[in-house]
């Protein structure tokens, strides 16, 4: 179907793709795996015409092609399903799908013809979706299907899916895989970029492993194992089961008592939010705005334990963490740290009470990217007495402190004065982890602490969290990576629509057990039906 021959792409100082050659066969699901920075996304951007290779060529069905832009890629039948959806929430499914490819008659969009075509496509590949539903009312899994339909509608024969499972709950992954198999059976070719090796083993026919811009090898999924792939990716054997000491829980260090956080849309701030909601939107959209993001949540984390919160993203996890630190106001309930009520206290005061914060979005909440590495290593502790001398920041002592952290946390950098944005994602995260844990906090709130990190860096961060736990500190771990939550936590709570809907000891928790709770405490099927059928029009679209 498509052969990549010796493709090389250089960026200043980086060889992103180093003579990559691989062949994707017609009708197969071909997975491409590799650590961050291995060159997966560069390669995909070349295939989609966003980058031009410096060397090498691409052949489509035996003919050499030049893909000089996404429009050309689409014309050649190559479609990309992005990790972050490119949908307009207030448009219907149909409107989103035809956007940019509207067929018009006498200058008016020909809805009927497009709808017919979308329904055909949906039916053919088993997509249960109502073309007239507004995208804002759909679940993440359904939105992803809209993205795939969009690509199919434009006539793609080769679909590139960039980490499509990152945003899905386990049951949704199963459904996605069923769709992908139907697509492959229908003659479509799929390139699947992933990093969860279990999933890759399950869905792919063949797997290509990239490391440092080079192809390590391509093999049939049946001929390899998860461990084998991991070793190829990292270049050394990787421990999957984390070694954990037995848990000795102590006194509760963090307790949340019936905490409610309104979230965006209903915040206490008076200005700027009063427009745009209401009118013709569907009822689901409106209720989503009206409900508090964190809705009377209670939990306790004891010293010496890791409490993991599992759940699909967008169920109030962000607001919960921001509420704890008073970055969003807690509208009711209490936040207690080490037995002291810190609800809605100034953030500096909350943090001084011995609570560290590893934020989910390190670029937004964790770092000041243009500032230097040493400055970022003291963010928040910059007024501590040891760092200030005669009203000025004591650069020598701060640099000494920074150098110590750099050694302890293995932060790889060339120059402390360089802005922190010059570091790789893994090293940026290490800067945050080092800064936060250096203050020997009693409570650690770690939100998506390994997101976007490669296997090695993720392992490092997890070890640090376990060390905190073994030292008797309380760790609250929030992660969209279910495997991470299950392997690290001593207790697991499932968060859904702003509440902890179930709580399990770690040894009982399994993905199969948690999955239904993550989707609303009911069987997953119930979630799907109302959205497609309640309007009475979904029938034809279903298989």
């Amino acid at each position: 179907m498509i052969s990549i021959k010796g493709v090389t792409k250089r960026f200043p100082g980086v060889l992103a793709n180093d003579h990559i050659s691989l062949e994707v066969r017609e009708g197969e699901i071909h997975a491409i795996v590799g650590e961050n920075g291995a060159g997966k996304s560069t390669l995909m951007k070349i295939l989609y015409g966003l980058y031009q290779p410096d060397e090498g060529s691409i052949e489509l069905r035996g003919h050499p092609v030049r893909i000089d832009g996404p429009a050309r890629a689409v014309a050649l039948g190559i479609g990309m399903v992005h990790q972050h959806f490119m949908l307009i929430p207030r448009f219907t499914v149909l409107e989103n799908i035809i956007l940019g490819h509207e067929t018009a008659r006498f200058g008016v969009i020909d809805r009927r013809a497009s709808e017919q075509r979308v329904k055909e496509l949906a039916g053919q590949y088993g997509f249960a979706i109502d073309p007239k539903a507004m995208v804002a009312t759909l679940s993440v899994g359904q939105q992803q299907r809209v993205e795939i339909l969009k690509v199919l509608y434009r006539g793609a024969d080769l679909l590139i899916l960039d980490e499509p499972t990152a945003v899905l709950a386990p049951q949704e992954v199963t459904e996605l895989f069923a769709n992908l198999r139907l697509l492959a059976a229908g003659g479509k070719t799929i390139i699947f970029i992933g990093h969860k090796l279990d999933e890759v083993m399950e869905i792919a026919d063949r797997v290509t492993v990239l490391r440092r811009g080079q192809v390590v090898g391509t093999m049939a999924a049946g001929e390899t194992s998860r461990e084998g792939l991991a070793e190829m990716m990292v270049g050394r054997p990787v421990l999957f089961r984390i070694q954990k000491n037995p848990c000795h829980p102590g006194a509760p260090l963090l307790s949340l008592d019936d905490v409610t956080v309104a979230g965006v849309g209903g915040t206490a701030r008076g200005h700027g939010r009063g427009h745009g909601v209401g009118g013709s939107q569907g009822p689901a959209w409106r209720t989503r705005i009206a409900r508090a993001a964190v809705d009377g949540l209670s939990l306790q984390v004891n010293g010496g334990e890791i409490y993991g919160i599992a759940g699909v993203e967008g169920n109030g996890q962000t607001e919960l963490v921001e509420g704890i630190f008073n970055l969003q106001p807690v509208t009711s309930g209490r936040v207690m740290v080490l037995g002291k009520d810190v609800t809605n206290r100034p953030t500096a005061q909350i943090r001084a009470g011995g609570i560290a914060y590893i934020p989910e979005d390190r670029h937004r909440r964790g770092l000041v990217l243009p500032m230097s590495i040493w400055e970022n290593l003291i963010l928040g502790s910059h007024r501590r007495r040891e760092f200030v001398r005669r009203a000025l920041l004591d650069r020598d002592r701060i640099l000494g402190h920074a150098t110590k952290l750099r050694e302890q946390y293995d932060i790889r950098l060339a120059d402390m004065d360089a802005p922190v944005l010059a570091l790789s994602g893994g090293n940026q995260q290490k800067v945050i982890v080092a800064r936060e844990l250096a203050q020997s906090p009693q409570v650690v709130i770690a939100s998506q602490p390994t997101r976007g990190l490669d296997v090695g860096a993720a392992e490092f961060v997890r070890q640090r969290l376990l060390e905190m736990r073994d030292a008797g500190r309380a760790v609250l771990l929030i992660s969209a990576d279910l495997e991470e939550v299950l392997s690290l936590s001593d207790r697991v709570g499932v968060m859904f629509r702003g509440k902890i809907v179930a709580e399990f000891p770690a040894e009982e928790a399994t993905p199969q057990l948690l999955g239904p709770y993550m989707l609303g405490g009911a069987a997953p099927a119930e979630m799907e039906i109302p959205l497609a059928d309640a309007r009475g029009e979904g029938g034809e679209a279903r298989v």
């Binding site: 100034p346 937004r364 000041v368 963010l379 920041l393 010059a422």
Partner: protein, 371 residues
Amino acid sequence: MFRKRRLGLQVTAPLMAVGFSVLVGSVIMLAIGANPLQAYAVLFGFSLGRIDSIASILFKATPLIFSGLAMVVSFRMGLFNIGVEGQYMVGAFAAALAGFGLKGLPAIIHIPIVMAAGMAGAMLWAALPIYLKIKRGVHEVISTIMMNYIAYSFLHWLLADVFLDRTQVLGQGGFGSPRVRTPELAASARMPTLHKLFAAVGIQLPHYIYVSYLLFIGIALAVVVHYIIWKTPFGYELRAVAQNGPAAAAAGINSERVMVKAFLLSAAIAGLAGLSDLMTFFGYYDIDFPRSYGFNGIAVALLGRNSAAGVIVGALLFGMLARGAEGVQVMTGVPAEVITILQSVMILSIVVAYEIITRYVRTQRKKEVGA
């Protein structure tokens, strides 16, 4: 090594901009039939050729150092204090009140009081915009522009109706009308000029030169501003809030408090911009008090790459161009407006030059650190 290389690049951009604008100026002069080489020779020769001319440049640069520094503080905070214009006028007026209102003080006390009044007046004028910004989310550009117009009219009214100097001696026979101005400042409120200092090194400045100790105060203030921004915990917070507010908030920094402090600091510095004219040249505040130091301060800060040292260089350059423009107009017949065009092209091209340099630095950095 990282720092040094970047410093070199930062100097490159303004030089590129100056060179480019000289080029554009030449094209314009050719278009109006003048000889650019001659004009530039006069521009530099006239302004730099004589010691009293250089002293005049220093006098013209003094207010721009203050307004430029005020802009640096606000830009570094991520705020655009267009209100420096109105703030320095209100500040100068308040300083005038303290200057003619208080009597019998020794200069050593009176002068600091006048300067403090200037800063206080400007801060007062900045208080409403920053309050509206924090509490109601009103953009400071809008509110400070409005405050500038209010300042013009408000001061006009105060001058014409309230504080008009009615003791002025009118022309013969009582004809003519009095100047719309305040009473004159007490002698103890006048900032001493540098004549004595120059005389000490053997240079006799003519009496029509007014460069004063405010020049040294401005230079010292530049050093202080540099330290505040880059070395103090407050400056650290100011930069953190400006460059990533959410991360600063998460680290426990009270962004609103930092913003208020920085904005008021910017205004306080602005309040000194009008004092050079008030305390040395005029000795009173009148209806023709010089305008647009605030707007030129924006240009100077841009030219100076938002750094305190750069502001001094930028202010001196603007002072030189202003001085040179006088000579060019008289001696070559090229209108002084051409020099104004030169200034404007310089500001535009500097923005472009910085962008080019920034991109270059970014790619260099990737090579160096190995992203």
